[in-house]
Amino acid sequence: MTPDLLEEGAKRAEVSQLAKDKNTQSGGREAGFSRIATAGEVDVTHGRILYLEDVNVSFDGFKAINNLSLDIAPGELRCIIGPNGAGKTTMMDIITGKTRPQSGTVFFGSTIDLLRYNESQIAQMGIGRKFQKPTVFEHLTVFENLELALKTDKAVKPSMFFKLDSKQSDRLAEILHTIHLAGSVNRMAGNLSHGQKQWLEIGMLLMQDPKLLLLDEPVAGMTDEETARTAELFLTLKGKHSLMVVEHDMSFIRSISEIVTVLCDGSVLAQGTLDEVQQDERVIEVYLGR
C-alpha cells in the first residue's frame, strides 16, 4: 500500500465522518413524502425534537400546568426561567414519564408519543434528565456511576454478563476528562463535593448519549469557576444534542442562552432572547410584583 493511497483513504474517512456529524442535527434524514417511519427512531425532519401542546396537570385541584404548549428544535439550547411554582419541574416530570398529564400531547420527534412510555423506556429512547438535587449513586465509585449510565442493553441478563469494551472505556475516559473528575475515578460518589456531584450527574447524562437533555438547575451550589466551566460545556453540547435548561442564575443564562422561555402559573408567559423577556412588562411584574 502506497502512502498516497493511505492518505486518500484517510481523506475519504474524514469526509464520511463530516457527513455523519452534519447529519446528527437533522437526524440524518431528509423530509420525504413516502418515507417509512421506523419504530423507536426519533424523527426530527419536521424541525422539532420535542413538542408539547395544551398540556394540563392538576394536583388536588391546583393547576400545576395550564394549557402549556412548547417546542424545541433539534440542537437547540433552550433556557427556561420562571418564579417558584411556575411548573418547571412538573414539566420535566411530564416529559420524562414521571407524571401523567390529564390532557394534552407530548411528542418526541414527530412520531413518538411520550405519554405511552414509562420512565426507563423514555430514558432509553434518548431523553436524559438531571435532577434539581444532585442524584448520584453514593455507595458506588465515580467510575461505577458512569459505567451504569453508559448507553447499552439495560435488561437484566446482559447486565449480569456485562464487560466494558475498549470503545466504551475510551468514551468513559473522555467523559471523565470532560467533567474534570479524572483524578477521582475510584472515589465514592458520596464523598464528592456538591459541585462535583453535579458534574458527575451531568457526566452520567452524557454517558447515556441522549438526544435531548433536561437539566434542572445544573449550576446550583457550584463555585463561579465551576459555573463558567459548565456554561462552556453546554455550549459545546449544543448542536449535537438538544438541551433544556432550567436555571435561576441569570448570569449563567446570559452566558449560554439563545432563546429564553418564561413559565408562569403553568404556561408560557413570554419567549425571546434574555434581553427581550427581561423588558417584557408581564415578566417584570411576576418577578418583582410578588
Partner: protein
C-alpha cells in the same frame, strides 16, 4: 486528549488470592475434616466432633443460607423482607412431603397414606400430593414453590411500586397468612403438627450417623456455592444496579433501567435460596411445622444479617453463626432471657454498629471502603 495517563479500574476478581485460600480451607474443613472427626475419630478423643455439633452446625449453615439470601435483597437492594421464613418453610414442606411418602407402610397406622391423613380419615391422597413420591419432582418443587410465589407476589408488589416499610409489612402479613393456612388440617400439610417421624431419604435411613454427615457436607457445599454465586452477582453490573436502586431508584429509572425486573430477579433468587435452605434443614432436624412461618422467624433472619453486617455477604453468614451459637448456649443457660438478649443485641447493633460486625472489623483493619463517611 490526555486520556493516556488515566487508568480505569479493572473488574475485581471473584475472590482475592487470600479469599480463595480461606474459601478452600473452609471447603476442606466442611467436606473432609468434619466427617473425619465425626465418623473416624473415637468418641473418647477430644478431637471427636459430636453428633450434636454436626446437627447444630448443619442447622446454622441452613440459617446462614437464609441470611445470605436476605443480604442480597436487603443489604444490596434495600428491600427489607420480613417474610423470608415463608420461603424457607415452603422449601422445607416440599422436602417434608417426599420424606413423608418415604415412610411407606412403617407409619403408626401401617397405611400407604401419611399418618395424619389416616387420622383425618382421608381415603386417597389429595391432588397436591400427586408427585410427592418422586424425589426429582419434590426437589423441583423445592425451587418452584418459593420461586413461583415470590415471582407472583413480587411482580404485583414491585409493579405497584410498593416500597420501604409498606413492603416489609406486606411480606410479614403474607407469611402470617400462610402460617394460618398451614395450621388448618384441611390444607393437607399435617396441620399444626406438620411432618415428622421421617424414616428414610432415597431409601437410606435418614437418622443414621452417615446420612447426617452427608447432609451436613451437602449443606456446607451449598452454602459455599451460594456464597460464590452471590459474590458473582453483586460484582457484576447487575449487582451494581441493585445497589443503585437502593441508593437512588429514580436515577436508575432515568438512566434507562427498569427497576421492576431487577428487583423481581433478585427477589426470586433470594426466595429460592431460602427454599433450598429449608429443604436441607428438614431432614436434619426431622420436623417441619407451620411455626417456621411465624413472623418472628422471618424477623430473626433480618437480625442475623444486620448483626453480621449488611451488603458484605460474609457478614450475614457470620451473623447467623454468632446469633444462633449464642442462642443455643443462652436457651440452655438462661432460657427465659434469650428474647431479651436478642432484642438488646439488635438494638445495640442498629445504634452502634450500623455496618455490623464485619463493618467493625473492617474499620479496625482500616480497609473500610466507606472511610470518612458518617
Amino acid at each position: 486528549m490526555s486520556s493516556e495517563q488515566l487508568i480505569l479500574p479493572t473488574p475485581a476478581p471473584l475472590l482475592s488470592r487470600k479469599g480463595w485460600a480461606t474459601f478452600l480451607m473452609v471447603l476442606i474443613a466442611v467436606c473432609l475434616v468434619a466427617p473425619l472427626l465425626n465418623l473416624l475419630v473415637p468418641q473418647s478423643s477430644i478431637f471427636h466432633m459430636s453428633d450434636f455439633a454436626v446437627l447444630l452446625i448443619g442447622k446454622i449453615m441452613c440459617f446462614a443460607i437464609c441470611a445470605l439470601a436476605m443480604d442480597l435483597i436487603w443489604g444490596y437492594t434495600g428491600i427489607l423482607s420480613l417474610g423470608h421464613g415463608l420461603f424457607f418453610a415452603l422449601g422445607g414442606y416440599a422436602m417434608g412431603m417426599y420424606l413423608m411418602r418415604q415412610i411407606g407402610l412403617e407409619g403408626n397406622y401401617k397405611s400407604e397414606l401419611p399418618d395424619f391423613m389416616v387420622f383425618l380419615d382421608w381415603k386417597t391422597l389429595p391432588w397436591h400430593w400427586t408427585g410427592s413420591a418422586s424425589f426429582v419432582f419434590q426437589m423441583a418443587m423445592v425451587i418452584l414453590a418459593p420461586g413461583l410465589l415470590a415471582l407472583v407476589f413480587g411482580f404485583f408488589a414491585f409493579r405497584s411500586r410498593i416500597k420501604g416499610v409498606y413492603f416489609s409489612i406486606i411480606t410479614q402479613a403474607l407469611t402470617y397468612a400462610a402460617m394460618l393456612l398451614f395450621f388448618r388440617n384441611e390444607t393437607g400439610f399435617g396441620g399444626n403438627n406438620g411432618f415428622t417421624d421421617f424414616k428414610r431419604i432415597l431409601d437410606i435411613p435418614v437418622t443414621s450417623q452417615n446420612t447426617r454427615m452427608v447432609l451436613f457436607v451437602i449443606t456446607g457445599a451449598v452454602l459455599l456455592g451460594f456464597y460464590l454465586f452471590s459474590r458473582w452477582l453483586v460484582q457484576s453490573k447487575f449487582g451494581r444496579v441493585l445497589q443503585a436502586i437502593r441508593d437512588a431508584e429514580t436515577r436508575v429509572m432515568f438512566s434507562g433501567y427498569n427497576p421492576v425486573s431487577y428487583k423481581l430477579t433478585i427477589w426470586v433468587i433470594s426466595a429460592v435460596m431460602c427454599g433450598v435452605a429449608g429443604a436441607l434443614y428438614v431432614p436434619q432436624v426431622g420436623i417441619i411445622n407451620p411455626s417456621e412461618m411465624s413472623p418472628a422467624n422471618s424477623i430473626e433472619i433480618a437480625i442475623w444479617a444486620a448483626v453480621g453486617g449488611r451488603a458484605t455477604l460474609i457478614g450475614p453468614i457470620v451473623g447467623a453463626f454468632l446469633v444462633n451459637g449464642a442462642k443455643s448456649w443462652f436457651t440452655v443457660a438462661f432460657p427465659e432471657y434469650w428474647l431479651y438478649f436478642l432484642g438488646a443485641m439488635f438494638i445495640a447493633v442498629t445504634l452502634f454498629l450500623p455496618q455490623g460486625i464485619v463493618g467493625l472489623v473492617r474499620k479496625i483493619i482500616g480497609k473500610n471502603r466507606m472511610e470518612g463517611k458518617a
